[in-house]
């Protein structure tokens, strides 16, 4: 095997000794396969892919890579949508896909300890028989890893009631740039010894170190769960209904909206959920809790939906039916593959009362640029996912997508919202950070990173804008984003 810049023959041998034959890849195919995650607007290949099986192996591999002068991009399943899990250019991808052991499920104290590569849904499966579940449920939960969820502070439909990952992490095992292993928190994190360092690590997008093990809270499965489907002839009315439900102190566990184009794509896929084709928008709601509480809340929700013009609704507590309804929602991104080869999934947050305004802005931005827009959103959280279909081979179209994305983000920030709900900043929203943060803010972020990672070893070139904000502002739009980096 040829050696590459930075990694000597003996270092390569050492890596292979640590993680085994199948754990080190430097061939052209592997480099190509790791050149992107779920974000396809730009791509760049690593020079080596390392897949350790344990914390110890990861720590040893980190030391070899550091000595070789390679930077490290941590990666889970690579389902992320902001480009966080792929390199800027070269370096090593350190993947946790082979670290997928559920180390402990404690039914009494209601926590689980898992390796970072455990797939989200596998954790819930592992504690299902104990009547417990792990709450954060990103749409990619059948593939994404707990480690990746920690990196992006992932949410999911049920984040509305249960909050995103940060509310569920009790402890972390962190490998730093020296290959040192540090345990933070634990199953019983109180009383806290010193500062709470879990806070800054959750959502740090792999820029402060590699998380190899996670201890999470498990919740008791609710006694009753009901899924409601409300059909609207008008997307705006559907948005307003959400705002009203929340104003009336109703507390479902999830409120989702899908628009017509999304419904069509989902219904044409293997995950067809039986969403009616005659609706302009569907609202998918889940209510959980005690039987009485669920029944009352469902009634009230259906009432509000009706007041806002819902022309039909369904209500089910049958697990099979519910699963089907949700499978359609969770496969919505992938189903868009039927419309065009690539999909840009924006991820913005606005106050719920302004949902319809932003939907309008997104629609106009896309119509003016001849782009197809489909909307899916975690409406309860005010978290919108305007999905723009494109073909990455059309460079000019790619730049129009980037433009539309920036317009949507600016509108959200102007409306008092945020750049990202749950997908992270990564590469996608790096420049847009300047819309939300001042140079001082960004400076503070850099200082925090420097405490954990003074040598800029972990996932460099992400999240914090590389160029100064002044420079970014003076340019109308970042044209270089449309080009394929290889």
């Amino acid at each position: 095997m040829a050696t590459m810049a930075g990694l000597s023959r003996s270092q390569l041998k050492e890596l292979t000794r640590i993680v085994g034959d199948r754990g080190v890849r430097t061939d052209a195919g592997a480099k190509s396969a790791y050149e992107s995650d779920g974000f396809m607007l730009e791509r760049a290949a690593p020079s080596v892919v390392v897949l350790p099986r344990s914390t110890q192996e990861a720590a040893q591999a980190v030391r070899v890579l550091r000595d070789a002068g390679l930077v490290i991009v941590p990666r889970g399943a690579g389902t992320g949508l902001s480009g966080g899990a792929r390199p800027i250019a070269g370096g090593a991808v350190l993947g946790t896909a082979r670290m997928r052991e559920v180390l402990e499920v404690n039914e009494v104290d209601r926590y689980a300890r898992v390796q970072a590569g455990v797939v989200n849904v596998h954790l819930s499966n592992a504690c299902d028989s104990a009547g417990l579940f792990y709450a954060p449920d990103p749409s990619s939960q059948t593939a994404c890893t707990i480690g990746g969820n920690v990196g992006n502070n992932s949410g999911g439909p049920h984040g509305f009631r249960y909050g995103s990952t940060t509310r569920h992490v009790l402890g972390l095992t962190l490998v730093d740039a020296d290959g040192e292993i540090t345990e933070l928190g634990g199953a019983f994190p109180d009383p806290c010894h010193g500062y709470d360092l879990i806070g800054p690590l959750v959502g740090s997008e792999g820029m402060l170190g590699l998380v190899t093990e996670v201890t999470v809270k498990l919740l008791p499965q609710p006694e009753t769960v009901e899924t409601l489907l409300c059909l609207f002839e008008d997307l705006d009315a559907c948005c307003d209904a959400v705002s009203e439900m929340i104003a009336r102190r109703l507390e479902p566990s999830a409120i989702e909206i899908l628009d017509r184009l999304t419904i069509e794509a989902v219904e044409a896929s293997v995950l067809r959920a039986g969403y009616p084709a005659n609706a302009e928008a569907v609202m998918l709601i889940e209510v959980d809790g005690g039987a009485h509480e669920v029944a009352a809340t469902s009634e009230d929700i259906l009432q509000v939906a009706k007041e806002f013009g819902a022309f039909d609704s369904r209500r089910t507590s049958d697990p099979k039916e519910r699963k089907k309804l949700w499978a359609g929602r969770k496969g919505a991104f992938g189903a868009m593959g039927r419309i065009a080869p690539d999909l840009y999934v924006a991820d913005v947050v606005v106050p719920r009362t302004r949902l319809r305004e932003i939907v309008q802005v997104a629609a106009e931005a896309c119509t003016a640029r001849g782009l197809r827009l489909a909307n899916v959103f975690h409406a309860g959280d005010g978290n919108l996912h305007p999905n723009i279909s494109y073909d990455r081979r059309d460079k000019e179209e790619v730049s129009r997508v980037v433009e539309a994305g920036a317009i949507i983000m600016q509108a959200c920030v102007d409306a008092g919202g945020s750049l990202t709900g749950e997908h992270g900043v990564g590469l996608e929203k790096q420049d847009e950070m300047c819309m939300l943060f001042s140079n001082d803010d960004l400076g503070a972020m850099k200082s925090l990173k420097a405490v954990f990672d003074p040598a800029e070893f972990w996932n460099p070139g992400k999240m914090i804008p590389v160029r100064g904000c002044r420079e970014i502002h003076t340019k109308p739009l970042p044209i270089d984003q449309g080009e394929v980096v290889s």
Binding site: G38, L51, G331
Partner: protein, 454 residues
Amino acid sequence: MSQAPNTDTKTPCADAPVGHHRGHPTSKESLVDHARSLDCIHCGLCLTTCPTYQLTGSETSSPRGRIHLMRAVAEDRLEPDAGFREEMDFCLVCRHCESVCPAGVEFGAMMEFTRSSLMERQKPGPFARIARWVGFRRILPSRFGLKAAVLGLNLGQRLGAIRLVAPLMGLRGSVMRHLPKVPPRAERKPLPALTPAKGEKRDRVLVLEGCVMPELFGRVNHAVADTLSATGLDVLAVPKHVCCGALHAHNGEMQAAEGLARKTIDMFDAVDASARVVIDSAGCGAHMREYGRLLANDPKYKERAAAFGDRVVDYSEELNRPEARERLDPLLTGDHGIQGTVTWDDPCHLCHGQGITDQPRELLDAVPGLERKEMTAANSCCGSAGIYSVLRPKDSLDVLAPKLEHLKDCGAKTLVTANPGCHQQWQVGVSREKLDTDVLHLAEVIQRSLRADS
């Protein structure tokens, strides 16, 4: 019974090859099915379903990764080198990824395309070429060839020669040692041209006897004919027909597969051109349903092939039709002698290839006194995958390993399946692990449960 409607709104890229089989690929672009590769949106929802990704944790051996590699080759960003070939060969083509793909990527078809192109572009070495020629051209499609091979196996087993040769063949040998005992001649008798309906005749169906089925699992074919005729069907066999070409298509022998498809259509239509074609081997069924796609570029056969594909039904599908169940249910007794719990293991080409999951379970549940328990990951691959278990014995057994653990956890004393490859693979696994579990085809369970007088 037809395939799920594909309401693809995408217009294929103008420069991409459309259609299926072409002549020898001249450029890298034509090496893979570029148009189909564009359906993949890189979401990654397929990752955890993939048995080879489960083994390696590497993107290159995941469905998304393989599609990425194919597309990179087509777009001239990657050489179709030995590494590329290895990832294509490593795939079991279980098509589990298709069952979860929201974008409806036709992964199995893409993989068949790529393998076939690779085979044409880069011929295997002389030894492999002879082995392939013997296997695909002389044994599989010929009853004489199959009989000769089985005779050899039989002699080997009786004289103990397999025991002597096996160690020389390494892992391959250890798998060979677990080949099913060649059954007695009586069980290898072909089906009669007609097994007449018992009781009032309500319809007629054709059945596929298949290539290895009559030699190694002849009793299954007989069980199929018995149970179908018991529900009032005339069961028509097609004498002299041997092979449907599924194994050829899965392994890059696309031209041979096309020839066998035409032959199959001709021979079956000659017996009856409108009856449903009942298949008891999931791999064959999944392939035959897609004859229309396989022969899409053949103007003479295109329409006939599509119509033929629409007539193909799985055994469980046929027997679970309401009119069949009406006749079957009163015939079922608890006097089947099957002790302990049973579990159904979905053959990949039944659940992922044909979307059939409920029918076999409903049939098992209809048998009195049979307690069925679900096995974890029943719909994931057992590692048999046609001739994969012979070509890559180590990977095949690695894929089987977690399935054996699930079987142990489930505690079933009888594992029921519906594909000769899976049947064989499970027998290997069960005997390696010394488990006290019987492996049966669904038709055998139903046959044992039929009233003696029926």
